[in-house]
Amino acid sequence: MSQQISRREFLKLLGAGAVTTAALSGCASATRLVKREPYTSMPEYTLPGTSTYYATTCRECPAGCGLVVRTVEGRAIKVEGNPAHPVSQGHTCARGQASVQTLYNPDRLQNAVRQAQRGSGKFDPMPWDEAIQVVQDALANNDPDSIAFLLGLESDHLADLVNEITAAMGARAPYRFGALGMLDARNTLVMANVLLFGHPGLPVFDIAHAEVTFSFGANFTETWLSPVFYTGAYGNMRKGTPGQRGYLVQFEPRMSQTGANADEWYPIKPGTEALVAQALGALVAEEIGIPTEGLFADVDVAAAARESGVSEEDLHRLAMMFAQSQRRVAIPGAGALGHTNGLDAAKAIMGLNILVENLGKSGGVSLMPESALGNTQMPSTLNDLTSLVEKMNSGKIKVLFIHGCNPVFELPAASGFADALQNVPLVVAFSSFPDETALQADFILPDHTGLEAWGYQKVSTASDRITLSSLQPVVVPVQDTRATADVLLAAVQAIGGDLAKQVPYENEVAFIKAKLEVLVGEDGYYAASDANTLWARWLQVGGWWDSDALLIAPDLTHAVEVLQKQPSALPAAAFSGDEAEYPLHLLVYPSPNLGDGRGANNPWLQETPDPMTTVMWNSWIEISPDLALELGVCDDDIVRVTSPAGSVEAVVYVYPAIRPDTVAIPVGQGHTALGRYARNRGCNPLQLLDIQKDASGNLAFAATRVKIEPTGRKHQLARMEDRVGVYGDRYGELYR
């Protein structure tokens, strides 16, 4: 405890040095006017002008990559990967790199505010005492059933704390939501895992050691589950094993960045992933000579070929390749699972792994064991969220606390969440930014950003071992923000009584330390014999994890039984929107740079070109050259995209690697709030999605059809590439 307090003071002192150094970054002539301000008392291990490094965890997506942040005199300068961390292995993605711009973002909320009229954007600053009073009153004066928490996807200390509080109060456990989870179809994958292996978590695919990888729409080098982990695995798949070059086959209607790196890319018809997997499975089973029952029995390969657009020869060749290779893995990605038959597709694709019995093996599929801090809680399904919306509409929810997600922006407009919010008497947002959801709240009590925060995160998306990642502030908070855990705990303590007894933590750090006690004496990357050592090592190393890779093998026999009982005739994918009126499939995918859109106000993320289109600072709609000719549109034309659920305007990018019956729009832009760099830029395609669900109760986000009409207006997209240099006159008049 005392250590924590001294640490806070120390960080404050660091901040003082920052003022001078900031002034130093001006132009040369001004340096004469600089004043130098030495510390009143020198913090330990800080030397003027010398970097100090802190290990923490990235909060730009829920993957939980370990970071090492370089700080100089109290300023966070550069984000680097934590080399010891099993997820990031010393590396970072673009979003992680830009997290310093989240920290120092000029549009962050500077203090707790009250918004007298929702949506007005007129904020009245309020002292934190009053802010805590608001939370305290809300918790104390309302029926526990009428209090709801909506949290982000991260399985972090805050989720655990809120779970404890709600349990103690008798309220419902927090809802968990994030666009990345929705667009990864995480719940569907987890549900498949539960059905097949009885394991309520995400599987881990050992791409790194696979000779052959079949990816069904998994954009694992971009945003899928844990991009840094899987990108590292991709690199090792190609060149990690001497003498072996892994072979990647990608099935998806629109070439993703991952697909662009594949050795073979098949633009299959949206919704036919399950059919392709079934056909491949049947052929594989035939090749390796095992009897087919259930799912892979009586598969009409010719029909599958016809439906999907993959030729029969290719199917045979691919099946041979899969069957004959030593290490092979099939990945059920978001593109395959985002349909109304998504759960079936997940089973069929996982079925390929089960057929070749790669479970728990090198280059196969494994499961992550449960950590000492308890299991991770999976995201809420769309079913859960729709029931929340219903409760909000019927007035059963009196208080809604929202943290770590931006549902007004991230949930499809058709879900009715934004409207339902109007029926909740008290909405409290903990967002660090004035985002779309925060703008609909009565109070915004901004949390610290990731680099200023304490915490832990249980890595749940992908790692090769149990991984707990630590968060610690690398700088003193830039704004007058306060940790949400501290706010909740302060409110709970003020309420007192039973609740305070059941949630007895003084503050956030005390809570984290209490949770970590289970790790004392545990053998891992390090072993600490007492709590203080553990805490010191925990902060220094950046978390706690096993010393060696350790995953568990799923139970094969059970899985085989499930597959054998599964009938082979699967329902076809259903789509919203009549084919005659809405002739095109809409594919929305998280932007590789902006992710779910929370980074859209980081200028360097905006300026980082999209890997496939090289577009910066905007979003676009990808249209195949044939379709563009047919519609009479060309690059930079603004078109109106209409679905049964809504309509947006988007700028055309004629994209040579997409099916002519499909259009694609990245998610992440189209903010109406958040800040100066994000606002009024591009479109938010989630507005177009109709509410369609798969068997696991998840959003079938690829099940909406759209139509496109030219508007006659143009907007020049900022591209890194030169259109003529890259495309030449390949598409003739399109480029005039």
């Binding site: 132009c27 990967g81 120092y104 900022a718």
Partner: protein, 237 residues
Amino acid sequence: MSETAQEKWGMVIDLDRCNGCQACVTACSLENNVGFVGEESAAYGRGMHWIRIQRYWEGEYPNITARFRPVMCQQCGHAPCEPVCPVFATYHSEAEQINVQVYNRCIGTRYCANNCPYVARTFNWFDWEWPEPLNEQLNPDVTVRRRGIMEKCTFCIQRIRKGEEDAEAEGREVADGEIQPACAQACPADAIVFGNLADPESRVSRLARSARAEKLLEELGTETKVIYLKGGSSRDR
């Protein structure tokens, strides 16, 4: 005149590992105080990226694929940019055997950029802004360039210098892998490897001897210090 350029720092980029994810681009920009310019300027070829990932298409739909190649200053041993600068703002560093740009010496003729076959140089068309408190993030080891100055990838010279200085102060040689530019450090696929080409045992030297090694526009005789390892053959099965 035509002696082979001396070797020191070099970089190997494995195109088979590279998947075009852009982490290097962002990492570079944030390490080196590279300014961001906004949509309009970016649309008009004024992005300041020191490293960019070229994406070329191969084939026609449906047999189409994309190729990625990160391109930054190739640190030529015989650099076309060097002789044309009238004030030695860009010159060949004898000590480091790389191509150095001295910002405070640059007068902005932009001749070097015209003469760079790799289009590796960017020019500060304006004074870029970092609205407070974004400026707190600026790296104190790297000069913030004002308008009218040419800039380019430096192989993170500030990190090279720091590594050398640390090693010298501790009385030892620089260890292989100790010095890493921001791009190599960030690369999640581990495609970028940096090190001392003069040391035959360094990781970068060993990779540079690969049969897949090639240099960009090698026919120009620029003796570049960036070596690409050719990507996998995706189309020939």
